[in-house]
C-alpha cells in the first residue's frame, strides 16, 4: 500500500464539497482511503489515525487544502489525486453557465429587496463581516459559523438589539422561524410553545419530544452557546424572550441553556417573570434553587423533563411528570438487567459518542445524578473532568464529535458519519467498553439517511467485539419526527435491526447506558 498527498496552499472550498470529493475518491478502484480536508491540527490527527499523514501535510497550515489517498500502487494513487483536482475544479465552477448568482449579501439585497433573513455558514474568520453586512442591510441573521470572536459577537448583538434584529449565533445550528427549519432542525407541527435556546441540539431534542407528544411550536429561536455568558449578558435570549412574550401565537415559553452566569440568569428570570405566560427554564446542569423563586417559572433538570413540563403547561391533563419518569425508569431497569448479564468483568465503562453537544451535556447531567463518576469529556460539565486526548476514550467517556476541534475544515458529524463510525469501531475494539451510547439526529441539514451508514457500523462494531468474546450493547436515541425527511420510524427500526437498543429520548438512552455500568 502506498500513501500520496498534495497540498494546495490557501485554497478554499466549503466542507461539504470536500466531503463529496473525498467520497468519490474512496470509491475509486484500488483506493483504500482518501481525505480531502483543510490541514487543521484536528484534521491532521485524524489523518494520522488513518495513516494518511505525510510529511507534506504535517508542514501544511490550517488555510491549506490537503488531498491524501492510500492506494494499492503508485499509479492508482496518482490517478486518484488527479481525479480529486478535477472534481474540485468542477465543484468550484458555477452550477450552470446560464445563471449568474449574486456574490455578496449587498448585491443580493439590491436584487431581492424583500430578503429578510441571512443564513451564514462561511468559515469563522469571515463570518463576522458577513453578519455585519446582513444586519446593516436590515436582515435577521442565523449565524451558523463558529470561531467568531467574543467582541464581535457582543458588538453584533448590541447592534441587533438596537435595530430589532435577531442575531442567532454564532454557532447557532438550529432555528425554526415561522415554521421554516433553518440549519439542523426538524419538521414540526405548529403550536403554542415558543423556544429560545442557547443550544442547537437542545432545541431539536425538546421540540421533537414535544412534537411526539402532539404539541407544536410557534417559534424556535437560537442564540448561540455563548449568549448567556457574563460578557454577552444574554442579549439575544432577552430580546427573543421579549418578542415571544409579546407574540400572540406563543402561550408557553421554553428557555434552554447551559448554566448561565449568575447575573445573566437573574436578568433572564426577571424578564421571564414579567409575563404571565408559563415559562419552562432548563439551565442544563445548573442549580435549580434560584428558579423556583421566580413567578411563572417552571424549572427543568433535563431536556426530557423540559419537554414534559412544557407539554403539561399546554395539556394539564398529562399530570405528574415525576410519575411518568418513574415508570420509564422501571422499564429501563428491566432492560439494563438483561444487557448487563452478558458482559465480561473487564467491560466497565460507558462510551458516549455524540453528534449533538447539548445531548452530550444532558447525558453527563444524568450520569452525575446517577453518581456515575468520573466521566471524562471534551465538553465536560462545570467542574467535570476534561478528556486528556479527545481522540481516545478514557474510563467513562462522553465525547462531543461536533466540537470545534473535530469540525474545523470538515463536515459536522450530523452530516458526515465517517468520523463517528471510525470512533465506534475504535471503542468496540477496547475490551473495557461496556456500552456505547449514540445520539442520532434527523431533520433538515442532517445526513439524508444516517441509519444506512450507522446501522452496518453498529453491526460491525458488535461483531468485532463478539469475535473477541464480548457482547457489546449499543444504546441509541433518535432525535426526530415522522415528518422529517429521514423518517423517525424507519430510522428507529433500521438501527434496532442492527442490534442497537433504541430509547425514546437521549435522557432515557443515557439512563439505560448508565444503568448498565452501575453496580
Amino acid at each position: 500500500m502506498i500513501v500520496r498527498s498534495i497540498v494546495k496552499p490557501s485554497e478554499y472550498h466549503d466542507s461539504v464539497s470536500l466531503m463529496l470529493v473525498a467520497r468519490e475518491l474512496a470509491g475509486l478502484e484500488g483506493v483504500h482511503d482518501a481525505a480531502v480536508v483543510m490541514a487543521t491540527d484536528a484534521n491532521k490527527s485524524i489523518l494520522a489515525g488513518a495513516g494518511l499523514l505525510t510529511t507534506d501535510i504535517q508542514a501544511a497550515g490550517p488555510n491549506d487544502l490537503v488531498l491524501a489517498v492510500s492506494a494499492v500502487d503508485e499509479p492508482k494513487a496518482v490517478r486518484a489525486l488527479g481525479k480529486a483536482q478535477e472534481l474540485l475544479k468542477w465543484k468550484a465552477s458555477p452550477e450552470s453557465a446560464g445563471e449568474s448568482r449574486p456574490k455578496s449579501i449587498r448585491s443580493a439585497v439590491s436584487l431581492y429587496p424583500g430578503a429578510n433573513l441571512a443564513v451564514i455558514s462561511v468559515a469563522g474568520r469571515y463570518a463576522a463581516d458577513e453578519a455585519w453586512e446582513a444586519l446593516r442591510h436590515g436582515l435577521h441573521v442565523l449565524l451558523f459559523s463558529d470561531n467568531v470572536s467574543l467582541p464581535d459577537e457582543i458588538a453584533l448583538k448590541k447592534y441587533g438589539r438596537e435595530h430589532g434584529l435577531l442575531l442567532m449565533g454564532p454557532g447557532a445550528g438550529t432555528a425554526i422561524l415561522n415554521g421554516v427549519a433553518l440549519g439542523f432542525a426538524n419538521v414540526l407541527p405548529s403550536g403554542p410553545v415558543g423556544i429560545v435556546s442557547a443550544a442547537g441540539t437542545g432545541l431539536q431534542e425538546v421540540s421533537t419530544l414535544l412534537a411526539r407528544a402532539g404539541v407544536g411550536l410557534s417559534q424556535g429561536l437560537g442564540t448561540g452557546g455563548r449568549d448567556l455568558k457574563k460578557e454577552v449578558g444574554g442579549i439575544m435570549m432577552l430580546l427573543a424572550l421579549q418578542a415571544l412574550q409579546a407574540d400572540p401565537a406563543t402561550q408557553v415559553l421554553v428557555l434552554i441553556s447551559k448554566p448561565p452566569a449568575n447575573e445573566v440568569a437573574q436578568a433572564v428570570l426577571t424578564q421571564a417573570s414579567a409575563s404571565a405566560k408559563p415559562t419552562v427554564v432548563c439551565f442544563l446542569g445548573g442549580e435549580l434553587g434560584a428558579l423556583e423563586m421566580a413567578p411563572n417559572v417552571i424549572p427543568a433538570r433535563t431536556l426530557q423533563e423540559c419537554s414534559l413540563l412544557a407539554a403539561r403547561a399546554v395539556h394539564p391533563e398529562i399530570g405528574d411528570i415525576q410519575a411518568i419518569l418513574k415508570a420509564e425508569k422501571d422499564r429501563l431497569e428491566q432492560h439494563a438487567i438483561v444487557l448487563k448479564e452478558k458482559l465480561q468483568p473487564q467491560q466497565r465503562y460507558l462510551r458516549g459518542l455524540f453528534s449533538g453537544g447539548t445531548l452530550c451535556y444532558e447525558a453527563q447531567v444524568i450520569w452525575k445524578d446517577m453518581q456515575i463518576s468520573p466521566v471524562y469529556s471534551n465538553a465536560a460539565l462545570q467542574g467535570g473532568l476534561a478528556l486528556p486526548d479527545s481522540t481516545k476514550s478514557y474510563g467513562h467517556t462522553a465525547v462531543d464529535l461536533g466540537e470545534e476541534e473535530f469540525t474545523v475544515g470538515r463536515p459536522h458529524p450530523m452530516i458526515d458519519n465517517d468520523l463517528r463510525i471510525r470512533r465506534l469501531l475504535q471503542e468496540a475494539r477496547d475490551p473495557e467498553t461496556a456500552v456505547i451510547l449514540l445520539d442520532v439526529v434527523l431533520g433538515y441539514a442532517a445526513h439524508p439517511d444516517p441509519a444506512v451508514e450507522l446501522g452496518p457500523a453498529i453491526r460491525q462494531a458488535r461483531s468485532l467485539a463478539y469475535s473477541d468474546g464480548r457482547r457489546l450493547p449499543v444504546v441509541a436515541s433518535v432525535t426526530g419526527t415522522d415528518r422529517d425527511p429521514q423518517g423517525l420510524r424507519q430510522t428507529v427500526s433500521a438501527l434496532g435491526a442492527a442490534g442497537a437498543s433504541i430509547c425514546d429520548s437521549n435522557a432515557a438512552a443515557a439512563r439505560l447506558a448508565g444503568m448498565i455500568v452501575s453496580a
Binding site: 490557501s10 478554499y12 466549503d14 461539504v16 464539497s17 458555477p94 453557465a97 446560464g98 449568474s100 448568482r101 449574486p102 456574490k103 455578496s104 449579501i105 448585491s107 443580493a108 439585497v109 439590491s110 436584487l111 431581492y112 424583500g114 430578503a115 429578510n116 433573513l117 441571512a118 443564513v119 451564514i120 455558514s121 462561511v122 468559515a123 469571515y126 463581516d129 458577513e130 455585519w132 446582513a134 446593516r136 436582515l139 435577521h140 451558523f144 435595530h163 430589532g164 434584529l165 435577531l166 422561524l177 415561522n178 421554516v180 427549519a181 433553518l182 440549519g183 417559534q219 430580546l239 427573543a240 421579549q242 418578542a243 409579546a246 407574540d247 401565537a249 452530516i415 433538515y444 441539514a445
Partner: protein, 465 residues
C-alpha cells in the same frame, strides 16, 4: 412590542452565505433562497467601514451616489477650446489619462500630439512637431485637470471646437471635442494631410453648423436622457453609440435645418454624423464627466470619480482624494482587429472614455448591449453576466439608466475601490484599439479589465486616510 415581532408570521426570503446544503434544505421547504456565489475576501484585505478619522465610508459613498444620480447633463452649447476650457492656452495640449511627459508617451499619443501641432500651425511637419514637443515649449496637461475628457489619445489643442456639457443640478461644465470618425484619425494617433483636412473642416463647417443649431435651442439637448434611451436600444454608450448617434441627430435635426441656409453643407454635416457611429461618444463622455465632478471631494468616499488611460499608464482617482492619481501600466485589449492588423499592432489601453464606466454605463451596462460581446466571441449571456458581476463592485444603481434585459434594473453605479479589492473583480472596460505606432490610427476594438495595482494603491491610501 419589539421590532423583532415584525418578522413573525412573514414569508421568509433567505440569503444564504456559505454551505449550499443549508440553502437547499431551506428551499426544499418551499422558501425563496438566494444562494450566494460566495468567495472569501482576498487575503490581507481588511473590511474598511470607516476612515482612520472615523468617517463612515458607506455614508460618504451614498452621498456620492446621490450626487451622481441627481446630475442633469445638458449639451448647452459649443465653443473654441482656447476660449472656454479653463487654463487653456495656445501652447498647451490636453491629453487623455494621468499626467505624462513626451518621453513616456506611447506611439498613438505622440502621433496625436504631432498631428495637433501641425493642425495648430505650430509645426510644419512631423519632425518639427516632434522637436517642438520634446523641447519643453509645449505644456502637456491631462484633460481631467481642465474639466475635459478626450477619447483615445484625447488630444485637445487651443483651436479645436468643443462641446459644452452643463450639469444643470450643480452648475458645473465639462468639455470634449467633436468625434472625427473611425480609421485614420487624430485621436488614434493618425497624422497626415487627410487628418488635418478633416479637423479643419470640423472647425470651419461642422462646428459652426452645430453651434448655430444649438444656439437656437435655449434649453440645449438633454444628453443624459439620450443615454437612457440608447441603453434601451442596444448601446452601452462607450463602444457602441449607434442608437445614441441617431437619437442625437433626430434631436438636433430640426434646429440644424432651421439655422442652415446651405442645403448641401447641411447634407454634408448630416452625412458626417450619420456615417460615424461613434459621433455620440464625444457627448457621452463629457456627460459622464459632468455627472461625476460634483462627487469629487466628498470626504471618506471610496468611489472612483476618474478612471483614465494615456496608453502608457492607467490611472484612477477617488472621490475623497480628487487630486491624487493612482496609476499602473495600461493593459492589453482583447478584441477584434480590422483586416491586416493583429494583436501585435495593438497599443495598450488608451483614452478617457472609461469615464463612461466610472459614471455607470459603458462596460458596466454590457447587458444592454449584447452586440458588444461579439468583439470577444462571447454570447449575450456573457454580456448579462458581466453587468451582474459589476454590481458586486459598485456602491449603487442608477435610476434613470436601466437595462431591459435585467427587468429594467438600474445600471451598476459608483465603482467602490474597497469592493474591487475584497472581491478581486476588476471593472469591465469596452474600448477601441489604436495602432502602437504613431500615424496609423484605429486597428480594432475590444474589451478588458482595469489593472489591479492602481486599485491596490488607492485602497492602501484610503486605509491611511
Amino acid at each position: 412590542m419589539s421590532k423583532v415581532n415584525d418578522i413573525f408570521g412573514k414569508d421568509l426570503t433567505v440569503i444564504n452565505a456559505g454551505l449550499t446544503s443549508m440553502a437547499k434544505s431551506v428551499s426544499d421547504q418551499g422558501v425563496k433562497v438566494i444562494d450566494l456565489d460566495w468567495c472569501p475576501p482576498k487575503e490581507g484585505v481588511p473590511h474598511l467601514r470607516q476612515t482612520k478619522d472615523g468617517l463612515d465610508i458607506d455614508a460618504a459613498n451614498q452621498e456620492v451616489i446621490g450626487r451622481i444620480k441627481r446630475g442633469q447633463a445638458v449639451l448647452a452649447g459649443m465653443g473654441i477650446a482656447r476660449e472656454v476650457i479653463p487654463g487653456m492656452h495656445s501652447h498647451m495640449l490636453l491629453h487623455a489619462g494621468p499626467p505624462i511627459t513626451w518621453d513616456r508617451m506611447c506611439g498613438p499619443q505622440r502621433g496625436a500630439v504631432m498631428g495637433a501641432l501641425i493642425y495648430e500651425g505650430l509645426a510644419g511637419d512631423e519632425p518639427e512637431a516632434a522637436r517642438l514637443a520634446a523641447s519643453g515649449g509645449i505644456e502637456f496637461s491631462p484633460c481631467h485637470h481642465h474639466h475635459a475628457v478626450g477619447p483615445m489619445a484625447g488630444v485637445v489643442s487651443a483651436s479645436m471646437p468643443v462641446f459644452i456639457l452643463e450639469n444643470k443640478a450643480f452648475g458645473n461644465r465639462a468639455y470634449c471635442t467633436q468625434n472625427e470618425g473611425l480609421g485614420k484619425v487624430l485621436r488614434y494617433g493618425g497624422m497626415g494631410a487627410e487628418v488635418t483636412a478633416r479637423l479643419k473642416w470640423m472647425e470651419t463647417d461642422l462646428y459652426p453648423a452645430l453651434d448655430r443649431a444649438l444656439q437656437s435651442l435655449p434649453n440645449g439637448i438633454d444628453i443624459k436622457s439620450l443615454i437612457a434611451q440608447a441603453l434601451h436600444m442596444g448601446d452601452e454608450c462607450h463602444n457602441r453609440n449607434r442608437a445614441a448617434t441617431s437619437l442625437f441627430l433626430r434631436a438636433i435635426g430640426p434646429a440644424l435645418a432651421r439655422t442652415n441656409r446651405d442645403n448641401e453643407q447641411l447634407a454634408r454635416v448630416i452625412e458626417f454624423i450619420d456615417r460615424n457611429d461613434h459621433f455620440f461618444l464625444n457627448l457621452s463622455m463629457p456627460t459622464g464627466k459632468a455627472l461625476l465632478e460634483p462627487a469629487e471631494g466628498v470626504p471618506g468616499s471610496s468611489i472612483l470619480t476618474v478612471m483614465a488611460r494615456n496608453g502608457t499608464d492607467f490611472g484612477i482617482r477617488l472621490g475623497c482624494m480628487p487630486d491624487r492619481w493612482f496609476t499602473a501600466p495600461a493593459g492589453k485589449v482583447q478584441g477584434l482587429y480590422f483586416p491586416q492588423f493583429s494583436e501585435k499592432d495593438a497599443n495598450p489601453d488608451i483614452g478617457d472614455s472609461t469615464i463612461t464606466e466610472t459614471a455607470g454605463y459603458g462596460g458596466m451596462a454590457m447587458a444592454a448591449a449584447p452586440a458588444i460581446v461579439q468583439f470577444v466571441g462571447g454570447s449575450p449571456q456573457r454580456a448579462t453576466n458581466t453587468t451582474l458581476e459589476m454590481y458586486e463592485i459598485t456602491a449603487g444603481e442608477h435610476e434613470q439608466f436601466t437595462i431591459p434585459a435585467l427587468n429594467f434594473r438600474g445600471t451598476p453605479l459608483g465603482i467602490d475601490v474597497r469592493r474591487v479589492m475584497e472581491t478581486g473583480i476588476l471593472p469591465q472596460i469596452n474600448t477601441g484599439i489604436a495602432h502602437k505606432d504613431p500615424g496609423i490610427g484605429m486597428v480594432g476594438a475590444g474589451i478588458l479589465r482595469a489593472p489591479e495595482q492602481c486599485f491596490k494603491d488607492a485602497f492602501d491610501a484610503l486605509k491611511d486616510l
